[in-house]
Amino acid sequence: MSHLLQAVGFGLVTASIVALAAVAVSLQVSVTNFFNFAYGDFMSFGAYVAWTASNQGVNFYLSVVLGGIAVGVLGVLANYLVFRPFMKRGVRPVTLLIAGVGLSFVVQNALILIWTPAPRRFSLNLGNALHLGPFLLTPGDLIMIGAAVTLLVLLHLMLSYTKFGKAIRATSNNIDLARSCGIDSDRVISLTWFVAGLFTAVAGVGLVLQESTLSPTTGFTELFVIFGAVILGGIGRPYGAMLGALIVGVLTEVSGAYVNGAYKTSIAFGVVIVLLLFRPQGLIKARGLIS
């Protein structure tokens, strides 16, 4: 039993990481209506930037911020150079997906070229694991959970109380009406990609720290776990994505405790298949993207 609870504890850490990424994806999907397949690699990119900075002696937290900015910029560029031209032309959703897959391969392999495929060590040793009730967590884990919660709360505040956050919600709800109100939807979309990029980078760093190794495929293998969370929570619903992340995070860790660890990712992939086949609208009704 304690084994199970410990797994739940690890699940909370995974959930934090997944939540950040899933919320980022959901936010971006809510204003642009398609999945960016390259998100996993964005996560890896952020982690690499943070690692490089950290290796140069930059303060750890500052490195993470730098990683965040790097991915934010990457997201804006990807939107501007790749996705937006397609969307302006009006293409089938499949085409955007293929373009996203193309981007994923470009980014992932660019990472290999720049940083070589050799796995890097990236860890933050803040002390040993502590027993907190039934859970067994390191200070690093706690910081991760704390960071995720903080960022998500900040996002919530932004979406609920700031003019820009409301503009995002308006754009995702009804882009034509938003434009009629004078909202510059292109700018809103660009900035949404930037914010999503920030969150993605932090998630990427968290992911790497969990395993203490960083390799070019780190983010990509996590991609489907993230997709699972997004779909579960209702595509295009950032708040739903938080719930989805919690469920998916805990579920993967718990199942990983009972099944051969090598199959953990397959389980995530399987969950996504089942979801798309039987409940594509998620637990909370998704908005208009399922046809």
Binding site: K163, K166, A167, R169, A170, N173, N174, D176, L177, A178, R179, S180, C181, G182, I183, D184, R287
Partner: protein, 233 residues
């Protein structure tokens, strides 16, 4: 002195022009309704004036300046409001937030402005924190009208504001439109329900097959038999 004026509008999609040399105008504090049978081009005219559709020929003036083809995004800053026929509220956002979005282009604290607008729409004030998607069709229409007033436009185009509403609510919407008219806004209203529209209109612009066939004061045209004939087609 008209506040909103469209002249010589020729526009359409693929094929023959839907609108051929059409004119329409609204004066400050007056309502001009645009009527016509199906396929006459009423909605197309509204879209052409708003720049949602490429105009092949013609001009649109707001006050003294030309605003041909600008698009609602820019027109809202110039003082031209727009009530679209469908999807005219942010259904995921609260009534209050809808109004805030209406006032997006305004600087400073919006609370004052929101309070003034809500004075014209007391029912909305009661529901201010409710999500717009949970309101009834008629209430949503009211919210859309309130939203467009946030920027204190000098003129507004309303595209079938009573479409799909019960007769009771349709009349209520028209009463609101009259109140808005009373604040000095010049209104151009595209309508399907001609009878009700003509009861509230100051001027009528009747279109058929993409052309102006009859224009004039509503008082004069109200009883003319040919209006009925034209509307049936």
């Amino acid at each position: 002195m008209t506040i909103l004026r469209a002249e010589g509008i020729t526009a359409g999609y693929d094929g023959p022009p839907v609108l051929d040399d059409v004119a329409a105008a609204a004066e400050p504090g007056q309502t001009t309704v645009i009527l016509g049978p199906n396929g006459a081009g009423k909605s197309t005219l509204a879209k052409a004036i708003l720049g949602l559709l490429r105009i092949r020929d013609g001009h649109v003036y707001l006050g003294d300046s030309e605003v041909t083809g600008l698009g609602p995004h820019k027109l809202v800053r110039r003082g031209l409001g727009y009530l679209p026929q469908l999807a005219n509220v942010f259904d995921d956002m609260s009534v209050l937030e809808n109004l805030e979005m209406g006032g997006y282009t305004l600087k400073g604290d919006l609370r004052h402005r929101i309070a003034s607008v809500l004075e014209l729409f007391p029912d909305l004030g009661v529901d201010r924190n409710k999500k717009a998607g949970t309101l009834s069709g008629g209430q949503q229409r009211m919210l859309a009208l309130a939203r467009l007033l946030m920027t204190e436009p000098v003129a507004a185009i309303l595209d079938e504001p009573t479409a799909g509403l019960s007769p009771l609510y349709a009349e209520r919407v028209w009463e609101q439109i009259d109140r808005i008219r009373g604040t000095g806004v010049g209104l151009l209203v595209v309508e399907q329900n001609a009878t009700l529209a003509m009861e509230h209109a100051d001027s009528v612009c009747l279109l058929a097959q993409g052309r102006n066939v009859l224009s004039g004061k509503a008082d004069e045209l109200r009883e003319r038999a040919e209006v009925a004939r034209i509307l049936v087609g």
